[in-house]
């Protein structure tokens, strides 16, 4: 019995010596945060995170290429701790959301041709622009909706995307996704908004889309000087000035310039035509 205890003691002594020696002689400097993060991980080395062991994940987290959520073993709190240690924190700034520069749903905008192929705006754009009469307008195939991981975008009854402002984190995925570049990120305080990108002017525009900007310039006139200027047949709002001028939307004959109201979404001015809600213009080209 004592032999057994002695044997194991001797063995452990041997290995302890080796380990001590190894730590002294073979120590290699690395980012101490990796080690610290590694320590905070469960150390199960199960590999479920897709990295070869906890150390792998720790390195990836420190280098920023992975998040603690990858680890299936830790619980929420532990993940939270790791995240805190790694110091990924967002400051409190004004909420920014994605805004859509098109109002041409199927109820108001005409389709010139019927597109057949992959159900994707990006794919459709490559086929003669996608078939929408207005070259700049939303194709309504919902790439933005698909790409938004937070489900902050849904397609309305007229195949126009709607942003749920509370859910939007301004990640910018939809901005990248839209082949027509219709999305951009704006602080919620930007109430005044031009929901059109059509560069043409005059009545011809209205044949393609009832809510397009026909470049009449009334909004630019009604707003204080310099806030709105007409560039390439479109009003351009200078958000560096005081743009809180609801008046600018009132005389717009098409409702292309709108006022974003909390919980109501875009509101068109009085002069804008009441948009017919039910009829779809999709299959009735003029």
């Amino acid at each position: 019995m004592s032999i057994a205890v002695l044997t194991l003691a001797a063995l452990s002594f041997l290995f302890a010596s080796l380990l001590v020696l190894a730590h002294r002689k073979l120590h290699v400097d690395e980012d101490p945060r990796i080690d610290a993060a590694h320590q905070m991980l469960p150390g199960t080395n199960c590999g479920a995170c897709g990295f070869p062991g906890c150390l792998g994940l720790a390195e990836a987290m420190v280098s920023g290429s992975a998040l603690p959520g990858k680890c299936t073993v830790m619980n929420e709190d532990e993940r939270e701790d790791v995240a805190q240690f790694l110091g990924v924190d967002a400051g409190a700034e004004e909420k920014v959301v994605a805004r859509l520069a098109c109002a041409g749903g199927t109820n108001v905008a005409r389709n010139r041709a019927r597109y057949e192929g992959l159900e994707s705006c990006r794919a459709a754009t490559l086929v003669a622009g996608g078939g929408k009469a207005c070259f700049w307008g939303c194709l309504g195939l919902g790439d933005c909706e698909v790409v938004c991981d937070l489900d902050a975008i849904y397609m309305d009854d007229h195949n126009l995307p709607v942003v749920i402002e509370d859910a939007c984190t301004a990640c910018g995925d939809c901005v990248d996704a839209c082949p027509k570049d219709l999305f951009s990120l704006h602080p919620v305080s930007h109430h005044l908004w031009v929901a059109c990108k059509n560069l043409e002017k005059g009545d011809a525009v209205l044949a393609d889309c009832e809510v397009a900007c026909d470049a009449c310039g009334k909004c630019a006139v009604d707003a204080p000087a310099g806030v709105i200027s007409m560039v390439d047949n479109l009003p351009v709002i200078d958000y560096s000035r005081n743009h809180n001028v609801r008046k600018a939307i009132e005389r717009c004959p098409t409702g292309a310039i709108v006022w974003f109201e909390k919980d109501k979404g875009p509101v068109a001015g009085r002069a804008a035509p009441k948009v017919i809600r039910q009829r779809s213009r999709q299959s009735s080209p003029t």
Binding site: R112, R114, Y115, E116, A128, G131, P285
Partner: protein
């Protein structure tokens, strides 16, 4: 004014296609299998007819139900599941209880196909997954063979085939040994003509090499099958067998015996060629065929079981992603001949 009142249609080029379609291909494979099925019924009687019908119907129904459960349109119409069912049925012993046939069929489609995502996504040949499951689940029943051309085959059913669901089958007295089992355990080789014309016992559809080859030839002629795979398998098997036969003809059989015994013909022609689970390049197909051929010989000669085609194909299925990765077409303008 022309074209004015018509909404134009736009689409990506090319605007014309060859007209080939998956369902047409699948339907043709199904038809190519029919002669084999007819022969099976001829050789094994109503038992074979019942086995094949049960297998095919269960597969089709399973697929339909799974599509329904997933709230997707049914994919039964593409005929692929019918092939799975028919081929699966053709690999079963003719007196297997029908309830086992159904269990294996459900497994084949549910686990072998639907679970991976349905048509085109299965990493393994679904029909063989079903058979392998049965082989592992009910090994006795799966190694029990009835005689072909029994006198009463059109009038009487073997008792086992109607075994109560989940009950052990009770076998009639007469049993047969497959040519391979006789080879392995008694060192008796069947005659070539018997093998070619299907006069031996074995699985429902594996016995008649000639009709299988006919079906394969039809598909090859219609460009619906890659002939390189069966040819590669057969060449490999023949070559290795021939070499060993030279070494010791008392122990190792003739190449022709190897080719036409067991499931090799059916496997090589119809199952290894399942394009979903086989490599995509021609070179890859040669390698894949050699792998299957090699494994078949190894298992048959030195393994514990008399037959190894099923295992060889399943294992090769697992290797085929690697073959695809390692053997890629040489892209135009790279490597030799470029620049």
């Amino acid at each position: 004014m022309s074209g004015q009142n018509q909404v134009l249609e736009i689409g990506s080029s090319p605007h014309v296609t060859s007209g080939a379609s998956v369902d047409v291909i699948m339907r043709n494979v199904f038809f190519a299998l029919l002669p084999v099925c007819v022969f099976a019924v001829f050789a094994f009687g109503i038992a074979a007819a019942l086995t094949l019908t049960t297998a095919t119907l269960t597969c089709v129904v399973t697929e339909h139900v799974i599509c329904r459960l997933n709230r997707k349109p049914t994919t039964v119409g593409d005929w692929s599941v019918a092939i799975t069912g028919l081929l699966y049925g053709l690999t079963l012993p003719p007196d297997l209880p029908l309830w086992m046939v159904a269990v294996g069929a459900i497994f084949a489609v549910a686990v072998g196909k639907a679970l991976f995502g349905g048509l085109g996504c299965n990493a393994f040949n679904p029909a063989l997954v079903g058979r392998a499951f049965l082989q592992a689940a009910f090994p006795q029943a799966m190694t029990h063979w009835s005689l072909p051309f029994a006198a009463d085959r059109f009038s009487e059913l073997p008792g086992s085939i109607l075994a109560f669901p989940f009950a052990e089958p009770v076998y009639d007295a007469v049993t047969a040994a497959t040519p391979l089992a006789r080879m392995k355990f008694e060192a008796i080789q069947a005659e070539n003509p018997d093998l070619l014309w299907g006069l031996t016992s074995g699985s429902v559809g594996e016995t008649c090499g000639a009709l299988i080859l006919l079906g394969g030839a039809y598909l090859v002629a219609r460009n619906m099958m890659n002939w390189r795979i069966p040819v590669s398998i057969m060449l490999t098997v023949s070559l290795i067998t021939w070499v060993f036969m030279q070494i010791d003809p008392a122990v190792y059989p003739r190449p022709a015996f190897m080719l036409f015994s067991g499931g090799l013909m059916l496997g090589a022609v119809f199952m290894a060629t399942d394009m979903v689970a086989s490599p995509i390049t021609n070179a890859g197909c040669w390698v894949y065929g050699m792998l299957i051929g090699g494994l078949v010989v190894v298992i048959r000669f030195w393994g514990g079981m008399p037959e190894g085609v099923m295992y060889a194909i399943l294992l090769a299925n697992a290797v085929s992603p690697h073959i695809d990765f390692l053997i890629q077409p040489r892209v135009f303008g790279t490597g030799r001949g470029a620049g």
